[in-house]
C-alpha cells in the first residue's frame, strides 16, 4: 500500500471517528450504560469487567458512561469556541483587509500582541479573571484563537479585493457589505474551514487542560480533563482511570488534525510532497 493510500484510509478513519463521536454525544443518555454521576461507593476502583467495561472511579462511577458524556463537553467547547474565534477573527480580518493602512496596522498589532502570549497562559488568565466554568473557557479559547483567523482572513482579503471581478463590482457601485458577502467571504471560506478543524482540536485540548487544572468544567459534570485530574491521585489503585479518558481525548484530537491536514492538502496541492 502506498503512502497516499494509507493517508486515505487514515482520513476515512478520522471522519468515521468524528461522526461516531458526534452520535455518541447526541445520544449519550441512550448509549451510556449508567448515569455518569451516579455513585456506587461500595464499587470504588473496580477494575474493568463485564459490569463496568472500563472500570469505575474513586466514587464508584462508571468510567465508560463518564467518557461518553464527556464527549459532550469536548464537542460543545469545540463548536462554540471555534465559532467565536471565526466570528471575531473574520470580522477583524475583513476590517483590517479593507480598511486604511493605519487601521490595518493597529488591528494587526493588537492581534499580534495576543499571539505573543503562550496560549495556555492566556486561557488561564482569562478564565481566572472571569471565573471558572465551561462558558468562560469557551469564550477564552474563542478570543485566544481569533488572531489566527484574523491573520488568514486579512491576507486573503488583501489578495481577493484586487481581483478584477471585485474591482468590477466596486465600479458598478455595489455596497461594501454586499461585496464582502458575495465576493470576498465565499472565496476565503475554504481556508477558514481548514483552520477551524485545527482550532477545534486545539480547543478540545485547552478545555481538557483547564479542566485538569480545576479551572474549566466543574464537577460533577463529566469532562475528560476533569477525569484525568481525578485519575492522577489514584495512579496506584486505579491506573485505568488515567488511560481511557486520555485515549478518548487523543483520538479526537488526532481525528480533527487528520481532517484538517487532509483538507489543507486537497485545497493546496503544493503541500503534497
Amino acid at each position: 500500500m502506498n503512502r497516499s493510500n494509507i493517508r486515505n484510509w487514515i482520513f476515512k478513519f478520522a471522519v468515521l471517528f468524528i461522526l461516531l463521536l458526534g452520535v455518541t454525544a447526541i445520544a449519550a443518555p441512550l448509549i451510556a450504560p449508567y448515569n455518569p454521576t451516579d455513585q456506587e461507593i461500595s464499587n470504588r476502583f473496580s477494575a474493568p469487567d463485564v459490569h463496568h467495561v472500563l472500570g469505575t472511579d474513586n466514587f464508584g462511577r462508571d468510567l465508560l458512561s463518564r467518557i461518553i458524556f464527556g464527549s459532550r463537553s469536548a464537542l460543545i467547547v469545540g463548536i462554540v469556541s471555534t465559532s467565536i474565534a471565526v466570528l471575531i477573527g473574520m470580522t477583524i480580518g475583513l476590517w483590517a483587509g479593507l480598511a486604511s493602512k493605519l487601521t490595518d496596522n493597529i488591528l494587526m498589532l493588537l492581534m499580534d500582541s495576543l499571539l505573543s502570549f503562550p496560549t495556555i497562559l492566556l486561557a488561564i488568565t482569562v478564565v481566572s479573571f472571569f471565573g471558572y466554568g465551561l462558558v468562560q473557557v469557551m469564550v477564552a479559547i474563542g478570543v485566544i484563537y481569533s488572531p489566527v483567523f484574523a491573520r488568514i482572513v486579512r491576507a486573503e482579503t488583501l489578495i481577493i479585493k484586487t481581483e478584477s471581478y471585485v474591482e468590477a463590482s466596486r465600479s458598478l457601485g455595489t455596497p461594501v457589505l454586499k461585496r464582502v458577502f458575495i465576493h470576498i467571504i465565499p472565496n476565503l471560506l475554504a481556508k477558514v474551514i481548514v483552520q477551524s478543524t485545527i482550532t477545534f482540536a486545539l480547543a478540545i485540548v485547552i478545555e481538557a487542560s483547564l479542566s485538569y487544572l480545576g479551572l474549566g468544567t466543574q464537577p460533577p459534570t463529566p469532562s475528560w480533563g476533569l477525569m484525568l485530574k481525578d485519575a492522577k491521585d489514584y495512579l496506584i489503585q486505579a491506573p485505568w482511570m488515567a488511560v481511557y479518558p486520555g485515549l478518548a481525548l487523543a483520538f479526537s484530537v488526532f481525528s480533527f488534525n487528520i481532517i484538517g491536514d487532509t483538507l489543507s492538502e486537497r485545497l493546496n496541492p503544493r503541500v503534497l510532497k
Partner: protein, 308 residues
C-alpha cells in the same frame, strides 16, 4: 536594510508589544465586574478592612492614576507585592523561574534530539520506514496532550516500573519525565518543519548541480541541504521554547514541581491579583523576548528576511 536597523526596528516592536500586553492585562483586571478587594477580604470583612485592602492594592485611586503607577513600576521592574505571602512578586519569580527554565531547556534539547534526525531521515529516505516512523510520531505528538503523556509516564515509570521518583524536584532525575512530557509534542512540530524544509531544499537547483558534479549523496544531504534546511528550523525551535515556558504550567502541576507555573496557579487559586498580574507580564515578556532573539538570529542566518 542593515542588521543594526533591523535589530532596532524589532526592538521597538518588542517594546510596543510589551506595552500593549501590560496595558491589556491592566485593563482586563479593572474592567471585570467585582472589586478585587472584596475577593481578597472575603464576605465577613468590615468596610474599614475592605478600604484598607483597596489602599494596599492601590485600587482606591482613579484608573488613570493606577495605570500611570502600573507603568512606572513596570519600568522600574517592580511587579508589586504578593497579597498572600507578602513577598515581592519579583523575588518570588526569581525563586521559581530557574526550575521552569531548566525544564524548558531540557524539553527543547530532547525535542531537538528526536525531531531533527528523524525529520532529516524522513526527508532523505522518503516513503521509507523512517518516513513512516516520522509520520506516526508527528501525528502522535500533536494528538497526545502533554499533561496526559505526563500522567502516563508517571504511571509507567514511577508506579509500574519505579525507575523515576513520583514526587520531588531536588535532582535532575526528577526532571526527566516532565522534560519528556513537555518535549514530546514540541518535537512533533519541529519534526514536521524539518522534514518539509529538507524536502524543499533537496528539490532545489543547487542540489541538482551538486549531484551533477558527482558529489556523494551523503555530502549533498548533510553538508549542502541540511545547512540551509535548518535555518527555518532554528526559528521554530526558538518559538517552541517560548511555548514550553507556557506549557510548563500544566506539566509542573502534573509532576508537583515548584516552578513558575505552580506559583502562577497558586496565585490564581488564591486570587492573588498582583502575583497573577506580575506572573502574566513576566511570562509574556520572556515569550516576546525569545521571539525577538529568534528573529534576530534568523535575520543573521538568512539576510533576505530583513528586506521583507
Amino acid at each position: 536594510m542593515n542588521l543594526l536597523l533591523f535589530v532596532l526596528k524589532r526592538f521597538l516592536r518588542l517594546l510596543l508589544t510589551i506595552l500593549i500586553i501590560s496595558t491589556i492585562i491592566f485593563f482586563v483586571i479593572r474592567v471585570i465586574p467585582g472589586d478585587p478587594a472584596l475577593v481578597v477580604a472575603g464576605i465577613d470583612a468590615s468596610d474599614e478592612e475592605i478600604q484598607a485592602i483597596r489602599a494596599k492594592l492601590g485600587t482606591d485611586a482613579p484608573v488613570t492614576v493606577q495605570y500611570a503607577r502600573w507603568m512606572r513600576d513596570l519600568v522600574r521592574l517592580d511587579l508589586g507585592t504578593s497579597l498572600t505571602s507578602g513577598q515581592s512578586v519579583k523575588a518570588l519569580i526569581r525563586q521559581r523561574f530557574p526550575l521552569t527554565f531548566t525544564l524548558a531547556v531540557l524539553g527543547i534539547i530532547l525535542g531537538v534530539i528526536i525531531a531533527i534526525p528523524l525529520g532529516v531521515l524522513s526527508a532523505v529516505h522518503r516513503w521509507s520506514l523512517w518516513d513512516y516512523l516520522g509520520m506516526v510520531y508527528s501525528q502522535a505528538g500533536m494528538a497526545i496532550p502533554s499533561f496526559w503523556l505526563g500522567i502516563i509516564l508517571l504511571l509507567l515509570f514511577s508506579v509500574k516500573f519505579p525507575i523515576f521518583p513520583l514526587f520531588g524536584s531536588d535532582s535532575l532525575k526528577n526532571l526527566v519525565l516532565p522534560a519528556i512530557a513537555l518535549g514530546f509534542a514540541r518535537a512533533a512540530v519541529i519534526l514536521r518543519l524539518t522534514r518539509a524544509s529538507m524536502v524543499d531544499e533537496l528539490s532545489k537547483e543547487y542540489i541538482i548541480t551538486a549531484r551533477a558534479k558527482g558529489l556523494t549523496e551523503k555530502m549533498i544531504n548533510y553538508k549542502h541541504a541540511l545547512k540551509n534546511a535548518l535555518i527555518p528550523v532554528v526559528t521554530v525551535t526558538g518559538i517552541q521554547f517560548g511555548y514550553m515556558l507556557g506549557g510548563a504550567i500544566i506539566i509542573e502541576q502534573v509532576f508537583s514541581l515548584p516552578g513558575l507555573g505552580r506559583l502562577f496557579l497558586y496565585a490564581i487559586y488564591q486570587r492573588d491579583f498582583p502575583l497573577i498580574q506580575g506572573g502574566v507580564v513576566f511570562i509574556a515578556v520572556i515569550f516576546s523576548l525569545t521571539n525577538f532573539i529568534v528573529d534576530i538570529f534568523y535575520s543573521v542566518l538568512n539576510p533576505k528576511i530583513r528586506i521583507s
